[in-house]
């Protein structure tokens, strides 16, 4: 479904990604793990057309590079950015209608999808008319995801959905992601909470300083001692730097 080949990304003249290659097969949940500044968020922003890139971003066989972000959304790629980016004055319902905007479909169909969103996240249904600014962190994250789903994406890019949430809420969010994936949605997930991310994902890539240093099934990555030390709270330091001279 998604295939990156030698993708580089730039912020101004700074190169944040160094020719990374990765893929996400239909129906898969794939996670990117890595330290702060490793290039995880940049990868998602590159796919969504938000940063300058070089290389290839093949989505269903089409190169997304150079397309405007709204066109990429129209093609079925939805992006839930880190920090949710909701409008505090707009209500839950407003956000969901906004999310459906790119589809340009009859109102009736939109209303049906809103019902489905409320079924997925009952807490949102109860707060349909509340401004987003009054929602809790967890509800805000649910709304951000529900809003992205309103575009009926085939590929969902999720940036740090666990950020700032209590563990119980994180688990609930991840359960929902898993459920969506079982219904056919493809997910590329960025997480600092590597343990949680690997538990929900099929496969993962480890990013460090803008480079992929390891790839594998979640089981393999969880079983990798260096991943354990660097990202699963069993040690300190990055993946490549953490163990120099340890032999």
């Amino acid at each position: 479904m998604l295939r990156l080949r030698n993708l580089s990304a730039y912020y101004g003249r700074v190169r944040a990604l160094h020719r990374i290659s990765l893929h996400v097969a239909p129906g898969e949940i794939v996670c990117l793990i890595g330290a702060n500044g490793a290039g995880k968020t940049t990868t998602l922003r590159a796919i969504s057309g938000l940063v300058r890139t070089e290389g290839q971003i093949l989505y269903d066989g089409h190169d997304l590079r150079g397309l405007p972000p709204e066109k990429i959304v129209e093609m079925g790629v939805a992006h839930v950015p880190e920090g949710r980016q909701l409008f505090s004055d707009l209500t839950v319902l407003d956000h969901l209608r906004l999310g459906a905007y790119v589809r340009r479909v009859p109102r009736r169909e939109v209303e049906r999808d809103i019902e489905a969103a409320f079924a997925l996240f009952p807490a949102l249904g109860e707060r349909a008319d509340q401004p987003a600014g009054t929602l809790s962190g967890g509800e805000g994250q649910m709304l951000a995801i529900a809003k992205a789903l309103m575009a009926r994406p085939k590929l969902l890019l999720l940036d740090e959905p666990s950020l700032g949430l209590a563990p119980m809420l994180v688990r609930e969010i991840f359960r929902t992601i898993k459920k969506l994936s079982e219904e056919g949605l493809t997910v590329l997930l960025v997480e600092q909470n590597a343990m949680m991310a690997l538990e929900v994902s099929d496969r993962g890539y480890v990013l460090e300083t803008g480079r992929i240093v390891l790839e594998g099934t979640s089981e393999e990555l969880l079983g990798n001692r260096e991943v354990q030390r660097a990202y699963l709270g069993k040690g300190r330091g990055g993946f490549l730097e953490g163990v120099r001279g340890a032999i």
Partner: protein
């Protein structure tokens, strides 16, 4: 009937998906070795290469080779890409060609290894209901333990008999109703010989399949083993430096060994110039490991002579095949400028009535001239016979060998069972020219 596969999804992956996977894994492997292994850091720096210069599989050709010599120089742990505490197993190469080398495995490396030997076993006809007798030497050699865990993963019953004691091998085979035999092809032939000696016929055994590897063997040898043991025999390939057995194995088509391309990238190069050869051309196999954590190797010169086949295989597997190894670059003897492989001699002997596939090549030098003498064991029935017949046989062998090799050869017939038998790798070449080099 559909071919049996251990991991059908991966083993039939479309070519472009294999290549995407290979590129991803190659790039992450390069990033790791560049940061982790001083040897590679230095090697790449010397060539002015950084990992991100490699943007396609064909760029691989721009990277320097890794040789057995490099492994020796970094003995024992210098090439490891993880700290020693992450290593859960150590093996050692057999050291038949010199100083031994050490191979380390992480837990994930072992998991992959089992998966890959399981693929080879299933391709060779082993299933969960089989009883496999592993007659490779257990210990530091990778052959036995590599297959051991793969067979257990499948759910087969494993008899870890190890090498040696042929009478016991045959007794166990009979009593335990062994259905699959794993050993070197020369040892299989030796067991066949032993069976005949003990008066055990294949019909008394439950043996169905044999998976043989660790040394080059010929099609003729396969035919003999199959006939004398009443089994279907397949070839498999691996080398301890890159993992052990499981690198490649034949399917039921017996037309080349499928390489686990999701774990290794194969190339064939000209052994002299190091230039990459197009698919189908014969040369030295070079392997790059793309999933190994403990001991990743970039463009490792295997020393094994083969060719790569990318044509689709009727079995449905999409992974490239390598032709059965026809020899080793370091087994290749150059006699008066002509390349000679022991396997060529073997093919000739197999076709001649009265000889056995037990042979040795003795290379010597008289004055400035290289000389090749081939020692061949003859069958029991011949040796007791008259001298004239022996002379005729000697002539027949010599003429046939000279016809195939294109050089003059001396042939010496030796008595049955006088050449050394081993459950390890058979020693085919005795080099006596060394002192003058």
């Amino acid at each position: 009937m559909k071919a049996q596969m251990w991991n059908p999804e991966v083993e039939t992956l479309p070519r472009e998906e294999i290549e995407q996977l290979q590129l991803e894994r190659l790039q992450s492997t390069l990033n790791r070795v560049y940061h982790r292994v001083p040897f590679y850091r230095q090697l790449f720096d010397e060539e002015g290469i950084v990992p991100e210069d490699i943007t396609s599989l064909s760029d691989l050709a721009n990277l320097p080779f890794t040789t057995k010599e490099d492994l020796r120089r970094n003995y024992p742990y210098g090439m490891f890409a993880v700290p020693l505490r992450d290593i859960v197993r150590l093996h050692s190469s057999t050291g038949t060609t010199g100083f031994p080398t050490v191979v380390g495995y992480t837990a994930n490396d072992l998991r992959h290894w089992s998966e890959l030997t399981a693929r080879v076993l299933v391709a060779g006809g082993v299933g969960r209901d089989d009883i496999v007798q592993i007659a490779f030497d257990y210990g530091m050699f990778t052959g036995a333990l590599g297959f051991h865990y793969g067979a257990e993963l499948i759910g087969a019953t494993v008899i870890p008999i190890s090498g040696g004691n042929p009478e016991r091998q045959i007794r166990i085979m009979k009593d335990f109703r062994t259905t699959g035999l794993l050993c070197t092809p020369s040892y299989a032939l030796f067991l066949a010989e032993k069976m005949e000696e003990m008066g055990v016929s294949p019909a008394e055994l439950s043996l169905r399949v044999g998976l043989f590897g660790a040394e080059p063997w010929s099609e003729e040898m396969r035919r003999q083993i199959e006939e004398r043991m009443g089994i279907s025999a397949t070839d498999n390939y691996g080398l301890s430096e890159v993992m052990g057995p499981g690198v490649s194995g034949e399917c039921e088509e017996k037309a080349g060994l499928h390489i686990a391309e999701d774990h290794f990238i194969p190339e064939v190069v000209d052994p002299k110039t190091g230039e990459v050869l197009p698919p189908g051309e014969q040369g030295e196999l070079v392997l790059t490991t793309i999933t190994k954590e403990a001991l990743p190797l970039i463009r490792y010169r295997t020393g094994d002579i083969t060719r790569l086949i990318y044509d689709p295989c009727p079995c449905g597997r999409t992974h490239a095949r390598m032709e059965r190894v026809s020899g080793r670059t370091d087994d290749m003897i150059i006699i008066r400028g002509v390349n000679v492989f022991p396997s060529q001699v073997e093919s000739v002997l197999m076709a001649i009535e009265g000889t056995t596939p037990h042979y040795q090549l003795v290379v010597d030098r008289s004055g400035v001239l290289d000389e090749l003498e081939v020692w061949v064991e003859v069958g029991e029935e011949i040796f007791s016979d008259e001298i004239r017949k022996l002379e005729a046989l000697e002539r027949e062998v010599r003429d046939a060998l000279e016809g195939v090799l294109g050089i003059s050869v001396r042939v010496r017939l030796v008595e049955p069972k006088t050449l050394e038998r081993t459950s390890g790798k058979a020693k085919r070449v005795i080099e006596r020219r060394r002192s003058e080099l």
